[in-house]
């Protein structure tokens, strides 16, 4: 008995690596500490009613952001481990298997469990406020999306202490990812972690399209909508077209692995190239999905901190929409070297270059938004300004990569690695940081310390260039991606060493950001309603936004509605009289999303280990949760007028 338990445990838990034992201990201690603290301070009820069951888009947004910062930490530690291993030749810090697992989880976590939830967090925090709505179109679905993402991310993350991490690369190309070459459970964790959170992503896409199309304040025509909301719309359209492809692709891979089918296997007529086509039909739009909202963030910030209207609004909208359409026609540029022939390569080279045009136009429009403006350099604007040169250079190396015959030399090398990190860090990460800094006062009601924020900014920026510029050169020196070690004879070590220094500087930048948040919580400075002299509706309501967002729904007549209103008031025009308050219709909290997602977790975990005794009850639980929600008619309530009056008065009092 004891022996069989020991045998089970030695296979169930990842063993043999001191780094992982360390992680086991710290995970255990953290969980004990959290449970103890919640119990000691009697916060379980608060946690359940205020957070875990909430359908308030602002709280869901905050939970998304917290999760994504945790994932940024995990993915960042992965990155630092990799850079440490590569710092000098013949390093023995990580075994090849461990290194392979780490670059795989780094990629998956950063794209799917860091960038995506960070983006969804910003959608949630900002879109309803910006379009003058009281919540998203489907608040229950929104909560379900979050919990599906969260459970998927957790399922993926536990693989490093239970069962073993996936190690076939972030897109896990077959045949390597098939049972024949990856027989462990890591690959199944990959499939189910992404599948479960992917359902959430798809539902978020639907939710925000409907929210934007149906719930704008009266008078806000589409062409009067703030640019961030436009970027969310374009990104969500891309999501609902791209994510089903991912779901199907991973389902086919699962069927191969679980039932022994031959979609992508080497033998039995399977075709791994089909997987590679399918995964990039999702994968390429995916990078635009995450970068388009970053473009939206920059558009808001550049206009606000230049105290000037956004230049070329119509061009910007057209560029966003054409990028999102074009993004579906470039996928094959990820494998020019797989022998598709000159016709196919020429076509995809051209579509890839074409997408550079609207992207370039957006850069000019940001520049001319600043032109003849009054630019000030608060932290959100610093990130936005740093973005422009970084993204322009990253975009240029992207165009170089799109030149198909030259790509034969760039492909799979560190040149490519440097390119996509430059556009993803310089574009997406800088954009989301800028957005978080920009909307932080509105969300949390207090301001962040600017000085520490600037330290963080400079560490991140210096670290970025020191880390990734050498990698372009390493690519030209023949260093390929995913090598876990190299010899002294290659001549690669100096640049690798520099690159590692840069990575650690970015790590320090991250620590500064955490310190900035903790410091600002300790020395709490109440934020005014409109700290940046903003232009859009979210700045017209108190900080933090009250539960119902707008006491009375605003009427919009022009773009930059709040800015124009302030201009009129400055000229002595009296604000329009507000209509009398009415009771506000709000959705009720629900425990079903988290419970249903927990069943998904159980089902996924059961399928990973082929434990049908767990998977089947999991799926039954999912079905029962859906049934329970279908028969729940007690889903909404009204906030009475006197409560609204009290809340508004309190917010006014605070703001003084």
């Amino acid at each position: 008995m004891w022996d069989s338990i020991k045998k089970f445990a030695s296979e169930f838990f990842v063993t043999g690596d001191p780094l992982i034992y360390g992680a086991d201990v710290s995970i255990g201690l953290t969980m004990i500490a959290v449970v103890a603290a919640l119990t000691y301070f009697k916060k379980w009820n608060w946690l359940w009613t205020e957070w875990l069951t909430t359908v308030d888009h602002k709280k869901i947004g905050i939970m998304y952001i917290i999760a994504s910062i945790l994932m940024l930490f995990r993915g960042g530690v992965d990155a630092l481990l990799m850079r440490t291993q590569l710092a000098v030749p013949n390093m023995d810090f990580l075994s090849p298997e461990h290194y392979n697992a780490i670059f795989t989880t780094h990629g998956v976590i950063m794209i799917l469990f860091m960038a995506m939830p960070f983006m969804f967090g910003l959608f949630n925090l900002v879109v309803p406020l910006q379009i003058g709505a009281r919540d998203v179109a489907f608040p229950f679905l929104n909560s379900l999306s979050f919990w599906l993402f969260f459970m998927g991310a957790m399922l993926f993350n536990i693989s490093f202490v239970i069962g073993g991490s996936p190690d076939a690369g972030w897109l896990s190309y077959p045949p390597l990812s098939e049972k024949m070459f990856s027989s462990g459970v890591g690959q199944d964790f990959y499939i189910w972690g992404i599948q479960i959170s992917g359902i959430g992503s798809l539902m978020t896409g639907i939710n925000f399209i409907v929210t934007i199309l149906k719930m704008r304040a009266p008078g806000m025509k589409l062409m009067k909508m703030p640019m961030f909301s436009w970027s969310v719309l374009s990104s969500c359209i891309t999501i609902i077209l791209a994510f089903p492809i991912l779901t199907i692709t991973l389902a086919l891979l699962f069927i191969d692995r679980y039932l022994g089918a031959h979609f992508f296997t080497l033998d039995g007529g399977g075709n791994p190239m089909m997987y590679i086509n399918l995964i990039w039909m999702w994968g390429h739009p995916e990078v635009y999905i995450i970068v388009l909202p970053a473009f939206g963030v920059f558009s808001e910030i550049v206009a606000t901190f230049s105290r000037k209207r956004l230049f070329g609004y119509k061009s910007m909208v057209f560029a966003l929409m054409s990028i999102s359409a074009f993004s579906f026609f470039t996928w094959a540029h990820h494998f020019f070297t797989m022998g598709s022939g000159a016709d196919v390569n020429a076509f995809f080279a051209l579509t890839t270059m074409a997408i550079a045009i609207p992207t370039g136009v957006k850069v000019f429009n940001w520049l001319f938004t600043m032109f003849r403006g009054k630019i000030s350099f608060e932290t959100p604007m610093l990130w936005a300004i740093a973005f422009i040169p970084c993204f322009v250079v990253g975009g240029m190396t992207g165009v170089l990569l799109s030149v198909a015959p030259a790509d034969f030399q760039f492909h799979n090398s560190y040149f490519l690695i440097a390119h996509f990190h430059q556009v993803i860090i310089g574009g997406v990460v800088f954009g989301f940081f800028a957005g978080l800094y920009y909307w932080w006062p509105k969300v949390f009601g207090f301001t962040l310390n600017e000085k520490i924020g600037k330290w963080a900014f400079w560490f991140w920026n210096a670290g970025f260039y020191i880390c990734f510029m050498p990698q372009y050169v390493l690519g030209l020196m023949g260093m390929t991606r995913r090598v876990n070690t190299y010899g002294w004879d290659t001549g690669w070590w100096e640049l690798n060493f520099v690159s590692t220094i840069g990575a650690f500087l970015m790590g320090i930048g991250f620590l500064f950001q955490i310190w900035q948040i903790l410091h600002s919580i300790k020395f709490m400075q109440k934020a005014p309603a409109d700290p940046w002299n903003g232009r859009t509706l979210e700045w017209s309501i108190p900080s933090p936004a009250p539960m119902y967002n707008f006491a009375t729904i605003p009427h919009v007549e022009e773009r930059d509605a709040w800015w124009e209103e302030k201009q009129r008031r400055a000229q002595g025009e009296a604000p329009k009289p507000l209509p009398p308050l009415e009771p506000i219709h709000m959705p009720k909290n629900s425990g079903i999303p988290i419970i249903k997602s927990a069943f998904w977790f159980a089902a996924g975990f059961g399928l990973v280990f082929n434990w049908l005794w767990l998977a089947i009850p999991g799926f039954i639980g999912i079905a029962l949760s859906m049934l329970a929600h279908s028969f729940n008619y007690d889903t909404d309530y009204y906030i009475p007028v006197d409560e609204i009056e009290r809340t508004e008065a309190a917010a006014k009092g605070d703001a003084r």
Binding site: T337, G339, V392, Y465, E494
Partner: protein, 325 residues
């Protein structure tokens, strides 16, 4: 603020100094091609970089100038126009400039894409030498069907003679790359891809697997040596005289996951390469990318479909067919 800029510029110049010192050695393989394919790819890189810089440099300068000139400060004299949001003239300029650049770049790219299609033979008076490359877990097998020899993790060929590499895999896909001779092409099981390269001068060139293929992927390096024709012929006859032969059993041993030293073989089993390619195919569904004469042989390629089952001797006659086409 200013301190930050100084810190950043110091950091950037540090990087450049490091790059420069590193540059004193001839380690920039891609920028130092030794064959016409690599040379043309480098030309294309330079052309496309210059075209991009035509637009990038002004944008970077403009960014700096605008941010500097329109920053808010007490004694500011620059114009402030908060309502200015549209100019058809300006927008036409910056839609059309990128379009023009991209059209030029596109025209050049398409021309080169056809010219440098890797399956296209190189125009040269010498007859190309054929080398069949198989990526295994985690080693490279090179077969010389014309010379009847084979090597592992080492490939040699005469200079100034086009080499026709036929690429396949008996393991997860990899990518075959000799940066100084030209770009890479994937090795994939169940198909034979073609890559034509040429070395213009003798030398020993770095080669590696470029696509991740599992545990010891990083060890999949090989040396590619270009020599004079005489030296090459002597090398072949030395191997014929002194090395053991590669047998089917020997191949099965070699194909097992693991590392390998450089090895040479004086003989290869008849049709081994085609057998590896066909191993994973159902009848008639062959993918011969860019290689010639795929038609006839493939009807016979009804290889067993179970994973990893090696060809039985009964398949031998089909293999003979493949060799003949």
């Amino acid at each position: 603020m200013k301190k930050g800029i100084r810190r950043l510029s110091a950091a950037i110049s540090f990087v450049f100094i490091m790059l420069f010192t590193a540059g004193c050695s001839d380690k920039f393989l891609v920028l130092d091609p030794k064959g016409s394919i690599g040379q043309q790819q480098l030309d294309l890189m330079i052309i496309s970089t210059i075209l991009c810089l035509v637009i990038i440099v002004p944008v970077l300068v403009l960014t700096f100038v605008i941010v500097w000139r329109y920053r808010q400060r007490p004694d500011r004299k620059a114009k402030y126009q908060p309502e200015w949001e549209h100019s058809t003239k300006l927008e036409t300029i910056w839609w059309s400039v990128p379009i023009i650049i991209i059209v030029i770049l596109a025209a050049i790219t398409v021309r080169y894409t056809y010219a440098l299609e890797p399956s296209k033979p190189i125009e040269h008076e010498a007859k190309p030498i054929v080398i069949q490359v198989t990526s295994l877990d985690w080693k490279w097998l090179f077969q010389y069907p014309e010379q009847g020899i084979a090597t592992v993790n080492y490939v040699q060929f005469p200079e100034d003679v086009p080499v026709r590499f036929e690429l396949t895999s008996d393991a997860p896909m990899n990518s075959f790359w000799i940066p100084q001779l030209g770009g890479q092409v994937y090795t994939m099981s169940g198909m034979a891809m073609t890559l034509h390269l040429i070395a213009d001068e003798p030398g020993t060139y770095f080669g590696s697997g470029a696509n991740f293929s599992g545990k010891d992927f990083a060890k999949m390096r090989f040396e590619a040596k270009a020599t004079s024709q005489e030296e090459f012929d002597k090398w072949v006859s030395d191997i014929k005289g002194s090395s053991p032969a590669l047998t089917m059993d020997g191949y099965k041993q070699l194909a097992k996951p693991g590392l390998s030293e450089n090895v040479t073989y004086s003989a290869i089993p008849e049709g081994l390469f085609q057998q590896i390619v066909n191993k994973y195919q159902k009848s008639g569904s062959g993918h011969h990318h860019g290689s010639s004469g795929e038609a006839a042989g493939h009807e016979h390629g009804n290889a067993p479909d179970a994973a990893g089952t090696n060809q039985a001797a009964t398949d031998q006659e089909h293999q003979m067919d493949h060799m003949n086409h």
